[in-house]
Amino acid sequence: MRYSGLQVLAQGLMGNRGWKPVWRDPEPKPAYDIVIIGGGGHGLATAYYLAREHGLGNIAVLEKGYLGGGNVGRNTTIVRANYNLPGNSEFYSHSLKLWEGLEADLNYNVMHSQRGVINLFHSDGQRDAYARRGNAMINQGDDAILLDREGCRRMLPYLDYDQTRFPIYGGLYHPRGGTARHDAVAWGYARAADQRGVDLIQQCEVTGIDIAGGKVTGVQTTRGAIRAAKVAIVVAGRSGQVAAMAGLRLPIESHILQAFVTEGLKPCIDHVVTYGMGHFYISQSDKGGLVFGGDLDFYASYAARGNLPMAEHVMEAGLTLMPMIGKARVLRSWGGIMDMTPDGSPIIDKTHVDGLYIDCGWCYGGFKAVPGSGFSFAHLIATDRHHDPAARFRLDRFRRGVLLDEEGTGSQHNLH
């Protein structure tokens, strides 16, 4: 069914009895051309672009839980292209362009809202670093405006400008940045992939990867063996475990990242705002909840929940920056398992096994990357050639010492 305004009207008049399930629930077939492990944002987008860009149809996405139950449904939904390093810049720029056409492309409302991202800075040094980043963004063809203190005050009147410990010097404004509805992105890609014949198989955990003579031949799952000529690993925080099934050891450690949401409030925060002196960033969802988060808990974890010290730090940092939110009540907090690389940048590459591909290491920034990653990974799987914007996301860059350390924090998994 094609979604449209007319359709909503017609269904409304007919008591909304005509809506059908949005994707099929197929039994796994014994064999596929391509099996994608992981039904998160990246896995679903990869399946969709394999079908749309490369005309491939005999594809299954295997998901151990339910579609969108992983990080794609747990993130704080920020979409931006404000990267600095060659390698990252062109990739996120491409991804943002795909976002801008995504709703028309998928025929699905993903509530992409380009409300602008403002990164605040609080010292001369930080201003210089952001000015440089802004120039890199403009060179890449994206948008960046350096705001001074008064510029910030006009756009963000509710910040505490009297604070003397970390005074607000200004902000780097990225007008095309913003947010999107995270679940809708998973659902939109799932529906569009299903419509192009991709089998989305839920409750199907991959437990082994079959390899013969250095070539992948299929996977073992909780719903039986499935043969495949090509297998793609896209399992975010579980990358280490699934890669180990193929004897692969990754430059990845899984860490916990928490986020928080308050009760619904009238619109008060119109942009995405990040604090430059504490771990805190915030936006307001369309339901009115203030959605905010901070940094990792810093130790390796698969618990999908964090501890109180980081929760406390995030709240403190938030109140320092915008005291008005102190009146809001926090409704929920949660955590997601992040696949952290030692340089903070991702991996889209082949592996030492013929026909086995991997897409991982998105750290805490992989939501904005969903379209770009799906597009580039599909290109690699279909053609065996790296897609230009993602050509530097190589698995062996660590060994070769060619890191993509965007934040310049050094080679340690928890520092990005």
């Binding site: 990754l250 899984s254 810093f298």
Partner: protein, 92 residues
């Protein structure tokens, strides 16, 4: 999460900072080659379950500790002084 320091006793985890997996105890020789350094700096087993890491008791006795922990439950299983494991060398 609380950590029992062998010198200071049971303490809030905020008193400690983490360095990373205990791989950091095995620093390769400068000329050990790409593979050894890749292993030391980047590659990780990344277990879902028991792991061993280096923690520093900065707000306490300033000792380096090896903490055995469960990454699924956040349970702390065993804490040793790195000094006792390496015969005096600290983490780096």
């Amino acid at each position: 999460m609380r950590i029992t320091c062998p010198l200071c006793g049971d303490r809030d985890s905020r008193e400690f900072s983490i360095r990373g997996h205990e791989t950091y105890l095995d620093r390769p020789a400068p000329d050990a080659g790409e593979a050894a350094w890749d292993n030391y700096l980047h590659l990780r087993d990344n277990p879902a379950g028991e792991t061993a890491e280096l923690w520093y008791h900065g707000a306490g006795c300033a000792a380096w500790l090896r903490v055995r922990r469960n990454t699924l439950t956040h349970e702390v299983l065993k804490v040793d002084l790195v000094r006792d494991l390496t015969g005096g060398d600290h983490a780096d």
